[in-house]
């Protein structure tokens, strides 16, 4: 039996092969001087051949040739060679002419006209992949829905999708993705249902093109499928005003529920959480440092980013390890169709990006950014360094030269390999660093002819390195796997010390070191695997496992005396999760119960995180949403809030002793009304937080000495609020009004038996964002109003006479965060002119004004005692600051 099957199979294969050879040997003898579409029609009619291709695309390719009895194979080879195409003969003897990157089995869906015939089947599934039309990069998290009803799904990170229970084979399927033109595919009985290839077109920044009629979409999109998910278009970021750099995280700060009044932090304060409570994933690896230049810019180069989405809360069981929210960033895979290069130059940095295919299966991207000295750079730099204090070195020798050097850079690289139609392997790398060197060069020695030297070091550097290798496989339309191994390292070094040596007449030398050194080093090794299984129309099951090893060291050394803090902690977090996205009541109710389980080796305890996410669509316009979740965080960032030091924070791992594992329970309830052009969205949230940790510079003394390790204070808190969003989604004028009322209360026993407003509590925050497209111009404006943040004001002060007869001032504090700074408000404006260089390379020149009406927003207050009086001096944020930037892309 086996033998017979083998023989039949071989016979079939040889027949097929013979058939293919036969068609391709057809001699062509004709004169073509037309477009390729016309030439293929001519050939099909003359030689009775069947072709399958993208008509619109091949119509644009000129074909001039005079084959004389040339085999079809040679003619096709010639066509494909010069047009980045390939061909193959299908089982039914149809010759497919497709793009070079085309995977056998996939079929591009071209149906762009409504089918008016009768349907032939009902309640069936369609599956396929969604790609960028120009680069053929896969597009993750695209929204797919059946027009006119609430059925829908979202593509996975590789752009694959399966839409179950499509009502009829004459339905219209809508593909919607931020930054791309919405696409409607009109099904017909002839349309394939598996291996569909859907290509979406980027919204052009330059008008007067063929797509001039396409709807212009806003830069931000709110998910219809879940509460609190936003997407931002990296492509359209330049339409928003910016301070020197297009900045993805800064743009998220314009959303409701995310604080925008922290000029010196590009980290996200989401619904009462702090930036370290946001899980930031870049191609799967965790990024621990998201800031450049004292927090003014985020560490992500928007040119290297394909997709970014933010979960404000109520996130899936797939994500964990953080209390507040998740930012998932997907890097660009690279252009599969050819070489491309892009670059930006602004008054802050220069930025380059290159992408190219390597053969038919590999693509690569490389991008880099580095700051450079400019008036804008210097202005921001001085803002942070003019109050810098010298090292605490006691008797300090004068002389030497001080030369400040400061810069930041980041590099992204990604290699994507598609070994088979179902597999995809990618390697992603990121490295970014900030360096500030304010050291005093060595003095002494030769200058004085003597034998002593002294060197004053004042160096601050911090950065992040991350890498991931990822293998994903689409086993079939219903089963998908994504496996990942990653490495992430965050380091922060602060060295403010002086050292030197003295040599006496007899040649004996003594060395000395004074000052402080802080060193924080975090290592994260993670391996994880995620599975998705579409059980049926109603159940989309996701499950997976993860193992993270964290190794975090923090040392604080006072070189005069001793190592004050020396924390070396490491631990493993073992995680498993399961969730089922269920569609009930004809898809109107989408409810996702899930459970995430963790075992943390440091505490040797189990942590269960039940989650529930739900949306009920009353109609295609009205929906309500609710979610509940439990979250634990094992590694936390502790803020020093010492602005003059450069490095202001350090990461620590919970140990269940000084630093317990923090946790939160969140409830979200909301409603949305959405029309074609407008969205009205309101969400209320309530969050209980436990074991929140603050670091204080307070010191305690006892009989044996000063204890510095008691400075981690732990308490509990609540956050509650309402986010309101009104958005105009489409048109020449787009934008939104976002308003948030919130209250974040903390309680830490060490501060006293009372509750206090958290330092990031903002009662009212209003954001107006508008972009207007006029011809080739994009105009943008943002206005932010926020209640002043709480701070701890002095209650008073006093002087003590020290033992050497001098006096020292001491400022005594009032209740924790008992006062508020004045309200913060700011207007930013921008104008971008888009044009094409050489008729095909898009470019733009942008003008931006930060703080257009020069509002003096108070950053913090300085205090000193003068003539028996405590004097307060406010220090302000950036004033009126213009910027210009140029952007260029080859194609």
């Amino acid at each position: 039996m086996n033998k017979l099957s083998t023989t039949l199979f071989l016979l079939f294969v040889s027949l097929v092969s013979y058939g293919q050879e036969d068609i391709l040997e057809t001699n062509i003898d004709s004169w073509f001087c037309c477009d390729l579409d016309a030439a293929l029609i001519d050939m099909s009619e003359t030689y009775n051949l069947k072709f399958h291709y993208d008509k619109a695309k091949l119509k644009e390719i000129r074909f001039t040739e005079h084959p004389r009895n040339k085999p079809l194979k040679e003619v096709l080879d010639n066509i494909c060679k010069y047009n980045k195409l390939k061909y193959f003969v299908n089982d039914d003897q149809t010759i497919w002419i497709v793009d070079k990157w085309f995977k056998r089995g996939q079929e591009t869906v071209f149906e762009t006209k409504v089918y008016h015939g009768a349907s032939s089947k009902n309640n069936f599934s369609i599956a396929g992949q969604i790609v960028d039309e120009l680069s053929h990069e896969s597009l993750p998290f695209v929204s797919i829905s059946v027009k006119g009803n609430t059925k829908g799904t979202i593509s996975n990170v590789d752009g694959n999708f399966t839409l179950i229970n499509v009502p009829t084979d004459t339905s219209t399927i809508v593909f919607s993705y931020i930054g791309y033109e919405k696409k409607e595919v009109f099904l017909s009985p002839k349309t394939i249902t598996t291996n569909m290839l859907i290509s979406l077109k980027q919204q052009a920044l330059v008008l007067n093109e063929v797509n001039v009629t396409a709807e212009i979409q806003d830069v931000m999109q709110v998910s219809k499928q879940q509460a609190g998910i936003f997407k931002m278009s990296p492509i359209k970021l330049q339409t928003l005003p910016n301070l020197g750099e297009k900045d993805i995280l800064r743009s998220f700060q314009l959303m409701p529920g995310i604080s925008a009044a922290n000029e010196n932090s590009s980290g996200l304060y989401v619904r009462g959480g702090t930036p370290d409570q946001v899980l930031v994933l870049y191609d799967g690896f965790t990024v621990y440092n998201v800031e450049h230049m004292f927090g003014f810019f985020s560490a992500f180069n928007s040119n290297a980013i394909k997709d970014v989405q933010l979960f404000k809360g109520g996130f899936d069981a797939k994500y964990g390890g953080r209390l507040a929210s998740v930012v998932e960033i997907t890097g660009k895979d690279g252009n599969q169709k050819g070489f491309n290069i892009a670059g930006d130059v602004s008054m802050m940095s220069a930025n380059g990006f290159v992408e190219f295919p390597i053969g038919n299966k590999v693509t690569a991207t490389l991008s880099g950014r580095r700051s450079w000295k400019s008036p804008l750079y210097d202005k921001i730099f001085e803002q942070y360094t003019e109050t810098e204090e010298g090292p605490q070195t006691g008797f300090r020798l004068g002389g030497g030269t001080q030369q400040t050097t400061s810069y930041f850079y980041d590099v992204n690289a990604k290699l994507t390999y598609n070994p088979t139609e179902k597999d995809r392997i990618s390697f992603s790398f990121y490295n970014g660093k900030d360096e500030l060197d304010n050291s005093l060069s060595p003095m002494g020695g030769g200058k004085f002819g003597g034998n002593f030297s002294i060197e004053s070091v004042d160096e601050t550097s911090w950065g992040n390195t991350g890498a991931s290798i990822n293998w994903s496989r689409q086993f079939n339309d219903r089963f998908y796997m994504n496996a990942l191994a990653s490495y992430s390292n965050y380091f922060s070094l602060r060295d403010k010390s002086s050292s030197g040596s003295m040599q006496n007449a007899s040649g004996e030398s003594t060395s000395f070191t004074r000052g402080i050194t802080e060193d924080n080093n975090l290592l994260d090794y993670t391996s994880k695997v995620d599975f998705e299984y579409q059980l049926n129309e109603s159940n989309h099951i996701q499950f997976g496992a993860q193992l993270t090893h964290n190794d975090i060291d923090y040392t604080y050394v006072n070189a005069d005396t001793l190592t004050i803090i020396d924390r070396k902690t490491d631990g493993q977090i073992y995680t498993g999760y399961l969730q089922d996205k269920m569609k009930l009541f004809d898809g109107k109710l989408i409810i996702t119960p899930g459970l995430r389980y963790n075992y943390f080796s440091e505490t040797q305890k189990n942590y269960f995180e039940p989650r529930l996410i739900s949306v009920y669509n009353f109609s295609d316009k009205w929906r309500i949403k609710a979610s509940y979740g439990n979250y634990y965080q094992f590694a936390s960032r502790v803020l020093r809030e010492d602005v003059t030091g450069g490095s202001r924070d350090f990461w620590v791992l919970a140990d269940d002793d000084q630093l317990p594992v923090s946790s939160s329970t969140q409830y979200i309830l909301g409603a949305a009304y959405e029309t074609k052009d407008y969205l009205f969205d309101v969400e209320a949230f309530y969050k209980d937080m436990d074991n929140i940790t603050e670091y204080s510079l307070r010191v305690k003394t006892d009989r044996t000495g000063i204890d510095y390790s008691e400075n981690f204070f732990t308490g509990y808190g609540t956050a509650r609020g309402i986010d309101v969003l009104v958005q105009k989604k489409y048109g020449n004028f787009t934008g939104w009004v976002a308003y948030t009322w919130s209250q974040v209360i903390h309680h830490i026993d060490e501060y006293g038996d009372y509750d206090f407003y958290a330092a990031h509590d903002v009662t009212h925050e209003l954001k107006l964002v508008g972009t207007y497209k006029w011809k080739n111009w994009d105009f943008g404006a943002t206005w932010i109003y926020a209640t002043g943040r709480p701070y701890t004001a002095p209650e008073g002060g006093y002087e003590l006479t020290l033992l050497d007869g001098t006096t020292a001032d001491f400022i005594n504090v009032s209740v924790k965060n008992g006062n508020r700074l004045p309200a913060y408000h700011r207007l930013d404006l921008s104008a971008n002119y888009n044009f094409k260089v050489g008729g095909k390379s898009p470019a733009s020149i942008g003008f931006s004004i930060f703080n257009a009406y020069n509002r003096s927003n108070v950053w913090y207050n300085e205090y000193e005692i003068v003539d028996n009086e405590v004097i307060e001096t406010p220090v302000y944020y950036l004033n009126f600051t213009p910027n210009i930037n140029l952007t260029f892309k080859l194609k």
Binding site: G394, N504, D755, G796, N861
Partner: protein
């Protein structure tokens, strides 16, 4: 289509969601606090200065004296009341203070009992200088920096010590010209837990005789030298060993030696 009724239900649910939140217990400050300053050392009477805190943004700029307090000190098991002298200073005379003695202080102010305790450290051991003279060289061709003067003491338990150097000559001669007519005659480092300290010629401002005092200190005094921040971003309460109050109540002990600072071109002055 959602009905009007269900919209109201939705709105009501949202309101209910927030009205159920618990009341928070926020607090206001009471800046009327006493500041204590007292260094108790063997051989001297006990003096305690008690002032008001300077109130920030207050009508009374503060820092004023506090008189008529009943201040008590416990010494060797007996409580004794201090006598108010002048300028916020309370004194306990005729008390023999010795190394190792323990003291407690207690008084009532602004309806609060303010108290503290301390002990007198033992005097520093084996305090000596590698040289009794510091030479100030003339910097120029062939300049050779002189060997630093090394101050050493015994400190096997890593206790806090601080060196204070004072120029004792009334009409001391300045080493270098200075814009300041009267530069400070005293200098010091922050307290350390080591057992030595180098003195370099550049540390000195005046020629002549200098008193070198080595204090042995309690940790509460050393904590006064911690950087506490001066902006609203990093303000923290100053370290104090006064319960319900501010300031310092500590015992100290000291040893003294003398050195001469001379120009290298002049002959040494012997101590």
């Amino acid at each position: 289509m959602i009905t009007i009724k269900s919209r109201y239900i939705l709105l009501f649910s949202l309101l209910l969601f927030f009205s159920s939140c618990e009341k928070v217990n926020l607090q206001t400050a009471d800046p009327n606090v006493a500041v204590v300053e007292s260094y108790i050392n063997p051989g001297n009477e006990i003096q305690v200065k008690i002032k008001k805190q300077i109130v920030f943004d207050g009508d009374d700029s503060g820092g004023g004296f506090i008189e008529n307090l009943s201040v008590k000190i416990q010494h060797n098991g007996d409580w004794e009341e201090l006598v108010y002298k002048y300028d916020s200073i309370y004194v306990l005379e005729n008390t023999l203070v010795e190394s190792g003695d323990a003291f407690e202080i207690e008084f009532e102010y602004n309806e609060k009992i303010i108290k503290s305790e301390t002990s007198i450290p033992f005097p520093p051991n084996s305090f000596q200088s590698s040289s009794s003279t510091v030479e100030i060289p003339t910097i120029g061709p062939g300049y050779e920096p002189p060997e630093p003067t090394l101050l050493t003491w015994s400190n096997p338990d890593s206790e806090y010590h601080m060196v204070v150097i004072e120029s004792t000559d009334e009409d001391a001669e300045l080493i270098n010209d200075s814009d300041d007519d009267h530069p400070p005659k005293t200098f010091r480092n922050a307290p350390i837990q080591g057992d030595e300290q180098e003195l370099h010629f550049r540390n000195f401002t005046y020629y002549g005789r200098h008193r070198v005092i080595l204090y042995r200190l309690n940790p509460e005094y050393a904590a006064l030298y911690e950087d506490l921040g001066s902006s609203s971003l990093d303000l923290t309460a100053p370290t104090s060993n006064i319960e319900n109050g501010l300031g310092i109540f500590t015992g100290i002990n000291a040893d003294i030696l003398y050195i001469n600072v001379v120009s290298a071109s002049k002959s040494y002055e012997k101590q």
